[in-house]
Amino acid sequence: MPTEAPAPNPDPTLNAPITPELVDKHGLTPDEYERIKKILGREPNLTELGIFSVMWSEHCSYKNSKKLLKQFPTQKFDEDSRNKVLVKAGEENAGVVDIGDGWAICFKIESHNHPSAVEPFEGAATGVGGILRDIFTMGARPALFTNSLRFGELTSADSRRIMRGVVHGISHYGNCVGIPNIGGDTYFDTCYEGNPLVNALCLGVLKHDQIKRGAASGVGNPVYYVGAATGRDGLGGASFASKELSEESAADRPAVQKGDPFMGKLLMEACLEMMGVDGLVVGIQDMGAAGLTCSTCETAARGDVGVEIELDLVPQRETGMNSYEIMLSESQERMLVIAKKGREEELEKIFEKWDLHAAKVGLVTEGKDMVVKQHGQVVVRIPAMDLTEEAPLNDPIATRPAYLDEIQAWDIETLPDLTDDGIYDALPQLLADPSIANKRWIHRQYDQMVMTNTVKHAGESDAAVVRLRCGGPDQDKYIAITNDCNSRYCWGDPYEGGKIAVAEAIRNLACTGARPLAMTNNLNFGNPNKPESFYMLKECVRGLAETCEFFDVPVVGGNVSLYNEKQDTKIDPTPVVSVVGIIDSRQYITSSTIKKGNEALILLGDVPKELGCSAFLRVVHQLKTGLPPRMDLENQAALMDFLQVQIQKGRIHAAHDIAEGGLLVGLCEMLFAGEETFGADINFEDLPIDRWDSLFFGESQGRILLAVDASRADHVVHDAERYDIHADIIGEANDEGILHVDAPNLEHPIEWDTSSLREIWENAIPSAMKI
């Protein structure tokens, strides 16, 4: 059924005929344009074309990734009472998971890669603001932020500029709104030069009956616009995020939005206060990507109703904006609220208290159309559901890149093993690598303690831990969260890399004493229309999905950022994974740092001969090659069960997952990431040693270092046998500040002064940033 054509647009430039060039400029294919004409039963006008273009961009429609995402489990199999998914991925702005006693958490991750490449400070700040709105929109009070960052090497001035801007932007927004930023991960690699990744996560807390939906309903209910006025900023941001970066992107600069964290804070408080009033809010949706367009048509589509808005009523910061500009603007700190008819005054009063303006801009209507009026005339009429549901789904071609076979065939024996001196030099080299070095330069700029619920923040344990005050003093709950992704593994073997990302996150949770609840993820990849790039995406998702399924960790939301390419460089596939876990008792919270000497150190897991795609190859041999380590899921499941029981028995003083850099780097982190600096006496007498390099610096998966009371060490090892887990007492921590490593066939024991190692590890990033 053709929709009635809108009247000629008051702005004559918008009545121009739609040429193939215009269609192309809007990132739409000729086929997609035909589909638009079919939906409307006529030609769209320019504003309508713009609306289709943003709603059908990858960013909003997931047209290239939607089919892949279906592989993710969205619900738990094991319906344990405190593990239900209450709002699933794709249903609302963010997923919601039960944590027991009527309480729930709501969390999601979002990328702001392209905006941060163009303007690091504002790009990162608005990324934080955007994810914040996604969370409080659901009715949840935000409780924490984390972030995943990827930059080019710090030897590049441009990468330093970007990192400085991004970190300032995140701290500027997050500190101002008063939500602690407690963790995340940061890697440096030339593949991110000029194409940084900035993924921001927010998690909030709410009661089951506080969940709000982004759906319009009740014909006649008023539609409110609240928050900042609309300007021309961020025009076309969603389609901008769905393009490759080119030299021209610099000219895209007017598309960069500017955030106002002060306004963001007021908006959050006002909305939470409003949502706390029974029955006042019918539906609520933030204006993020594609702004007014997306929020209007999504609320209408979810509620299966029509929505009509009048642009003259939309608060505007600039004069003379036409309907195209108003509908596509991505000005920040704005929300769309559908209120209960007759209660307008209550709502307006709340916003007045917070010095904010609530503008009634429209109504919920009969039918299913999104109708936009300006100066009393209809300028847009589109069936809302067609914008959100009818976006064409592509089946991009996937071709396995040829380099995979080549690098996977790399033979470790072509590399001479390390000599004693080589071992001695390699450790400090690795500790000085910015991807491994201490990240205090970054997280010291984030307020990690506001809200006074932070138990463990970035660097104190393998996952960050916060307390959630759920009612009275003895109803506190403790949750843990971690972000992970080793993109080099994904580059070397996308399927295995995907598995490892999830498994590592879950292992990190286990090391803090947590059981995994649910996952969110951010898929940062290259152009999906290039078959080799799409192959990487497809395989990574398969690995992620299978691992989630295996550990019964549902995916409750996420984000897809494709087109992370700039001229001829594209990023390594980077599926950032973030898993949230629950810690059943405060006693179980376990840190990763040693707190006294004389603790026995136990290595859990095997010592296979794996070096492919390791930090060691990259840092010491300048090699990016080899088959990444294999991930044995069954083995890890046993490891986690075992660890959980040992933690519950109170035997574990510290637990640390061995990741980038391998065993000695992991050990060092335990010895000096805490307040004090310890040493250790290590002896590898009982281990089968093939090569020094893979023993000391290999990154075989599923390995954990434990610190336990020396008198209990044998019990722990004994118990491990019953789980079929390889456990070895490799030595003891000491108070002398010397790391002393011996093995039967070493020429002489190797010794490092741990205070100097610590200095190297702590100063690497600060001194790189001083230049």
């Binding site: 163009v118 303007e119 400070f121 504002e122 900042a228 300007g231 021309r232 900023d233 600069r253 007017p254 960069v256 500017k258 106002d260 002060f262 306004m263 910061r317 600039e318 000005s331 920040q332 010095d355």
Partner: protein, 79 residues
Amino acid sequence: MKVTVFVTPKKTVLDPQGAAVGHAMEHLNVKPSSDVRVGKTIEFELEGSDTPELRAQLEKICDGLLSNPVIEDYRYELA
């Protein structure tokens, strides 16, 4: 020679600081009849005289370091 660089937020770019200041001025019963815009000045002395080379140098630091061309405009005065 005394250099003063004036940096102002671009007209089309949101100036949240200016908005907050405007609001506060109203509390003190001064009602601006326009938006309030808050900018920056950077003052310093430089050896040398007003030559094209010096201006070129100044442009270099103004564009990027002293102002962010994405969101700000600048001008300078030499005295």
